[in-house]
């Protein structure tokens, strides 16, 4: 009985959406009744009504493009330096043995806390935000590139050897294509880390795109607007995750 319910194609997602709507309706009701203070939590209907206002008056599109441009610059940097770093560690095994644990430790460190330091070095500008995103995304890309290259099947490398490929041919025809799916897993992680940190730092230093929008609306005590902006940022990030996930699945080899 439960198994058939769980395997039903529409029922579980419908329950998910249904409970979300029910929760929102409940909040609306509790606010209208006065059990929740409307100066702390605005009514969901007000939040929905605030969407068009926030989008038009706060120039959400240009803010979105600014954040996207920062994320794009950071991902270019992350891709170039991360993949190059991974390839270098793969190529020079001694360097790898000396530094791989360091890179892993950096990946686990709360790097975003360095943002005041970056503020001093790069100024309160888009450069600080991009560099913060770059710093946050770099280590996972290095580690995943290294992992992908190291996991290349022996047989593929031997095929390349038996064809007498030069080292550069061996890299471009065998190693790199074989490692590409894993590298992309790393790039996706790196992009997500970069994006989180970019929006976070925008919020914290009150500069730039979508993160600043939330800070500004909150400081103006525009509650419905703040909630709407937060919903908007969440929607944008969910779209990015779904998009990159699709891309990753498309790249993954069928096995």
């Amino acid at each position: 009985m439960t198994a058939t319910l769980a395997n039903n194609r529409y029922l579980p997602p419908a329950l998910g959406i249904g409970s979300l709507i029910a929760f929102v309706a409940l909040v609306e009701l509790l606010i209208r009744v006065g059990l929740i203070n409307r100066f702390i939590v605005p009514m969901p209907s007000d939040i929905i009504a605030a969407f068009p206002r926030v989008i038009v008056e706060e120039h959400v599109l240009s803010r979105f493009l600014l954040t996207a441009a920062e994320a794009f610059s950071a991902s270019i940097l992350v891709t170039v330096f991360g993949v190059a770093g991974g390839v270098m560690l793969y190529r020079y095994q001694l360097l790898r043995r000396a530094t791989e644990t360091w890179v892993a430790a950096i990946a686990a460190a709360p790097l975003v806390l360095m943002y005041p330091l970056y503020l001093v070095i790069f100024g309160r500008s888009a450069l600080t935000i991009v560099m913060m995103g770059f710093t946050a995304g770099l280590a996972p890309v290095i580690l995943k590139t290294l992992e992908g290259l190291s996991a290349t099947r022996r047989v593929l490398i031997n095929v390349g050897r038996s064809f007498n490929l030069t080292p550069s041919q061996q890299f471009w025809k065998i190693l790199f294509p074989a490692a590409l799916p894993t590298i992309f897993v790393g790039l996706r992680l790196g992009l997500i880390f970069a994006l989180i940190n970019i929006v976070g730092v925008e919020f914290l230093i009150n500069f730039g795109g979508l993160g600043q929008l939330i800070n500004e609306l909150a400081e103006r005590y525009d509650l419905a607007g703040t909630y709407a902006a937060i919903c908007f940022v969440i929607l944008v990030s969910i779209c990015v995750f779904i998009l990159t996930e699709r891309l990753e699945r498309w790249l993954r080899p069928v096995d």
Partner: protein, 266 residues
């Protein structure tokens, strides 16, 4: 017999160094970084004090560690993170068990957690200030929100990956629900749970400290942003170094727990 390992050659020390090459390279990298740093610090190419000399940073680390007020702030932050980990971790565990135990629930709700998980949590901070005030409450809330997602998703995933044989063993011994949870589920899920807590601790730390840098009057995050606002760069480097050592250390300690478990199982 036992000839398979006979091909390993004795490892000679190259270049006649007293150190292993890996250690030698590590030492070389550290020395190079130190020399470069000091050169940059002395050159005056960057703004004065942006790259303070290592001596000044060392002195600041010493001064910070011997200052009793630092321990007050460290205690505040540790307290906030501890409570956040407790709230976020336990609710994550409960939700994870619920989602992992029922395919129906997982198909209904897990996608929301999965996609909310990687969103930048700090944007919720204005709401947390409204709900819990400007004191430690809002920082705890930030940490708890951050920590909830990795724990819940790891527990749900771990619960689904429990070996079916183990569950059948428990059932054939007629274990009741409590016994199933304590004797079968939790021991079998130890690895993903510990991993979830490790990830959760990392993000709870970030959530709490970032919230402290944004608006607070105590805690390590407050000290960092105060060092920024009075432009005390050696102090800021010292705080960041101490913070990184603590967080990487905590991460390694929890990781060891998980690692040990893995070795024992294989």
């Amino acid at each position: 017999m036992a000839q398979t390992g006979g091909l390993t050659l004795p490892t000679a020390k190259p270049w006649g160094l007293p150190l292993r090459p890996v250690t030698a390279l590590r030492v070389a990298i550290i020395v190079a970084v130190v020399v470069l740093w000091e050169a940059l610090s002395a050159s005056g190419w960057l703004y004065r004090d942006v790259v303070p000399s290592l001596l000044a940073i060392g002195q600041a680390v010493y001064a910070t560690l011997s200052d009793p007020t630092f321990y007050f702030h460290l205690g505040t932050t540790a307290y906030e993170i501890g409570i956040a980990l407790l709230i976020g971790g336990l609710s994550g565990l409960a939700v994870g068990l619920l989602l992992g135990g029922s395919k129906f629930m997982s198909r209904a709700y897990e996608a929301y957690l999965y996609y909310l998980g990687p969103c930048p949590k700090i944007i919720f901070f204005p709401l947390m200030i409204m709900w819990f005030g400007v004191g430690p409450g809002s920082k705890v809330a930030m940490g708890a929100i951050s920590c909830f997602f990795p724990v819940a998703l790891n527990v749900a995933g771990g619960m689904r990956e429990i070996d079916k044989v183990l569950i059948r063993v428990g059932k054939s011994f007629r274990a009741n629900t409590w016994q199933m949870v304590t004797k079968i589920y939790l021991p079998a899920m130890r690895h993903p749970v510990i991993n979830g807590v490790r990830l959760g601790l990392g993000v709870a730390l970030i959530g709490t400290l970032l919230a402290e840098t944004k608006l607070s009057n105590r805690g390590i995050g407050f000290l960092v942003i105060q060092a920024y606002s009075i432009f005390n760069m050696p102090q800021m480097y010292a705080l960041l170094i101490i913070l990184f050592v603590i967080s990487i250390g905590a991460n390694t300690v929890i990781g060891r727990f998980g690692g040990l478990d893995e070795i024992r199982r294989s």
